[in-house]
Amino acid sequence: MSVQGVIIGLEVHVQLTSLKTKLFCGCSSDYRGKEPNTLVCPVCLGLPGALPVLNRKALEYAVMAALALNCKVSKRMFFFRKNYFYPDMPKNFQISQYDRAGGVPLAVNGYLTIEDQNRVKKIRISRIHLEEDPGRLVHLGPIDQSPYTLVDYNRAGIALLEVVTEPDFNSPKEARLFLQKLRSILEHLGVFDGSLEGAMRCDANISLEGGTRVEIKNITSFKEVERALNFEILRQRDLLEKGISVKRETRHWDEARRITVSLRTKEEEQDYRYFPEPDLVPIVLSEEFIKDVKRRMPELPEARMRRFMLSYGLPRYDAEVLVSSKDLADFFEECVKIYNKPKKISNWMMSDLLRCLYENNLELKESKITPQSLVEMIQLIEEGTISVKIAKKILPTMILTGRSPREIVESEGLTKITSRKLLSELIATVFRENPKAVRDALTNEKAVHFLVGQLMKKTKGKADPALANEMIKEMLEAVRRKEGSSKASTPSQ
């Protein structure tokens, strides 16, 4: 949706999922699918006398991410307590960072570029904070109708990176592109796995021309962001068109109902009563530390894209799509390693594989297809065992079951019909059933395609297309000759 005068800013929360433990304690960070309140300790529960100590790896990952997002990393920083009374934090405060009152964020003044329809746009990142994730609240039904709240603190204390952008987006799509790129970069750094549920969440602020800034909370994935923002644009535009002013407020994205709902506003900013966290000492980052992190930084998507163009000869568009997800790019390179036909592999991945994943609502990682099986499928086409049509047909099975393509086509009798004898019988039948098309085909190339299509239909796509084409033309030629001779023998009037 493109709407005039829309301004959007994002506050993205990303878990550093590659860490084994929480940000300030040794509790395992592998909380997904675990029994509630089994990964907690005196530190993350905020019991009296407990002392938080910073996870060194978390700091390294955060600095690495900040550098990859073109930020200026602070040389000296502190943690702050953000005080609020809400049951998602057992301590009644969250250890975070602060950009005011002497507080220093981990990093500031970065940017990312996004590309939409060949237009490159720079999105400014104002700051990055390192902070703890709050616990998980479980509501029964919609949040505003639940009788009470159930609390699980397994997630409380997980290392979270908060990335705040300037209000530089002018459409929900741009916001999604940004999150996709952010995800790919963090995955390439090896600090983040975006396929984990809730690993990337965001809040958005959005205003329309002539309206007021509204904040939307609880957008739980980058797929949801476009949906939530589109809804909010419609809601606000509708109000403005009716002459009703948009209220400045915080709204909650209700994923199940796909609407935003108004929440009683939590404390305003100044009410968080930030103050320096006395249990944690300041962090001083030396030049060497930052240099060392820079040196160990792996290849980023942009460099990888250029390498894909250079060493595999891929067009820019292909390379861009492939590196938009680390999994996709890794999968591609695995394929190329076993079968050195980059463009062919890229074509299959970008069109049919991606579409098929999308239709089944799967991430590549969640699907069962392997580079080996995709390559095998392409080789089956190349060696003439199956047609492209059959390949397209078995791809969903490969994705859903992980079965090898050779095994699928053999067990389901999908190998190509290459027998001339069988094909000529089938074509003869097609000709008999479509006399008008046959007459047309004698003069019109398009009608030839129609006949090929009919043959494919009859053979469920198994006829070898090149051979079928050739034979249909031959048999049409035979018809033409026959007609010609019969015409010749007809006495002229």
């Binding site: 433990t21 029994e35 309140n37 910073l54």
Partner: protein, 97 residues
């Protein structure tokens, strides 16, 4: 008498933030007490801090880290032993929206 630093309204606001209900008597008492406490801090105002950078931590330590190694957590029984209300291993809290 000096103008109080904290007004009754502010005490009410702080109580609201902390989700505490105060009686009228308590509001009066806490307003007085908080102002007395802040009076002590007034003495700090007289110190000359020109050219002194703010102290964010009283220790001279910096960069205290731990390695990313998993330590044992509490058992759920221990973790929930002080919780007044629980259900199926969760803590139970009033809905706050």
């Amino acid at each position: 008498m000096k103008k109080p630093r904290i007004s009754r309204r502010e005490v009410e606001h702080i109580a609201w933030l902390a989700h505490i209900e105060l009686t009228e008597e308590e509001k009066t008492l806490f307003t007085e007490q908080l102002n007395e406490i802040l009076e002590y801090f007034r003495k700090i105002d007289s110190a000359d801090t020109e050219g002194v950078s703010p102290t964010y931590h009283v220790l001279d330590l910096v960069n205290v880290y731990r390695e990313d190694e998993v330590q044992e957590s509490l058992t759920r029984e221990e973790a929930l032993s002080n919780a007044p209300k629980k259900e199926r291993g969760f803590l139970k809290a009033p809905r706050i929206v």
